[in-house]
């Protein structure tokens, strides 16, 4: 083999580069981690210094929150509140903030979201798996305790009235997702996607700079209605199709209950997808807007505007806010669906 003077380009510099990359110190890496928690399957991918370690820390944080906020765990703060017999309970600052958030969203949506709906949800069997249609008397009786204003929160003390049961399930995943996103950002993660059983949270863009592609499920059939392309946003969908049962007569009852009637919300919507920077807001709104129905949801959006939404109506039509118009692409087989763009100006 002839050795010439340029051998160092071919051998030495690549060797030096290799040494530099293998050196100690935090260089950006990509990592993935999946596990079961919060009663669902959670998947995470992240790019940043020590991404692997950061994702393990994120899992630990989520498991800790589950222990703290689960309505069924006897050691949770929520359980303590629900078994307080009307007495005042001291809670942690973090739990107080979560409850305050749920109460604020309930007030903002005029009770369409209500964290005291739990006893009604149980009567329908959605918490036990023993599905049944409760009789009207049972519903009326249980509804008398349903009102978010029956939760009295002051600083870190909470009192709930007799018969009231609180459950933060409608906002907890979004709230916890936000906490995890904050943790990841603090640790230098610049690109990430966290999926908490369908509650999607993104940080930045994909590592190659392209937008994250998030599918919106088709409520009527297998597959997706279309794709949302997002960066640095959370996307959450609430749909009747996620959890429901059918009675012998063929009637369908789903788990999104209207707090005013005690029955599954029958507002003309089959799914609501909300996109915003905060997962907790997406989570709370996707439930509340589902209960409100398309017209009220459109009015609500016009008055707030700090989020975007896509509504799928029972007749198969799609309404979406104009901020999503350029980021949502319908699937090929769904291009004949009627799509209405909701705009800020009224007629």
């Amino acid at each position: 083999m002839r050795v010439n003077g340029k051998w160092y380009f071919h051998c030495l510099i690549p060797a030096l580069l290799l040494l530099a990359l293998c050196g100690c110190g935090k260089s950006a890496e990509s990592a993935e981690h999946s596990f079961f928690a919060l009663d669902t399957y959670i998947t995470m991918q992240a790019t940043g210094p020590d991404a692997e370690a950061v994702l393990m820390a994120a899992e630990e944080q989520m498991q800790a929150r589950e222990r703290q906020w689960s309505v069924t765990n006897p050691d949770s703060e929520i359980y303590a509140i629900n078994h307080s017999d009307g007495n005042m309970v001291e809670i942690s600052l973090d739990t107080a903030k979560l409850i305050q958030f749920a109460l604020d969203m309930s007030a903002q949506t005029d009770g369409a979201l209500d964290p005291t709906i739990y006893p009604v949800l149980t009567a329908w069997g959605f918490t036990t798996g023993s599905y049944q249609v409760p009789d009207q008397d049972t519903i009326d009786e249980l509804l008398s305790a349903v009102d978010y204003r029956n939760i009295h929160l002051k600083d870190s003390s909470v009192t709930i009235e007799d018969g009231v049961q609180i459950d933060l399930g409608a906002v907890a995943k979004g709230y916890i997702g936000d906490e995890v996103a904050d943790l990841l950002r603090e640790q230098g993660v610049t690109s990430a996607l966290i999926n908490l059983g369908g509650n999607v949270q993104t940080i930045g863009t994909k590592p190659d700079g392209s937008l994250w592609r998030i599918g919106v499920r088709n409520p009527f059939a297998d597959g997706n209605l279309g794709v949302l392309q997002v960066e640095d946003m959370a996307v959450v969908t609430s749909g009747g199709y996620e959890r429901y049962f059918t009675d012998e007569a063929g009637n369908t009852y789903w788990h999104i209950i209207d707090p005013k009637t005690g029955y599954p919300a029958d507002s003309g919507l089959v799914s609501v997808t909300v996109a915003a920077s905060e997962g907790k807001r997406c989570d709370a709104l996707s439930t509340a807007l589902f209960v409100m129905g398309p017209e009220q949801a459109a009015d609500y959006w016009r008055s707030c505007g700090d989020f975007e939404m896509l509504l799928v109506l029972a007749d198969g039509d799609i309404w979406l806010t104009d901020g999503l118009n350029n980021t949502f692409t319908l699937s090929e087989k769904d291009t004949n669906r009627e799509v209405t763009v909701i705009r800020h100006e009224t007629k």
Binding site: F35, T40, V200, W212, I214, G215, N224, V235, T237, E242
Partner: protein, 95 residues
Amino acid sequence: MRPSTGKTVEILQDGNVLYTFDLSRTEDQVIEVFYQNRSNTVQIQDGKICVQAAECPDQTCVHMGYLSDSGLPIVCLPNRLVIQFSNAELDGIAN
């Protein structure tokens, strides 16, 4: 590296890959997966995969039917089982 056929599926239990199959090539078969003495019966037939039967209270995994390429994995929560395509077209599904 051989180009991916796009039909490679993974069966995971508690985050660990138990099996990998190329659905476009693999034989029809039935696999029984156990978690704490509870079984999920996974069926591969005509290039499609599903959970045919499961010892779990809610049967969500069975009701999901065949794994579709829309991106949602088949999940059996109580038995920590996940069946997914290894090359998903989308990054996530809002659900």
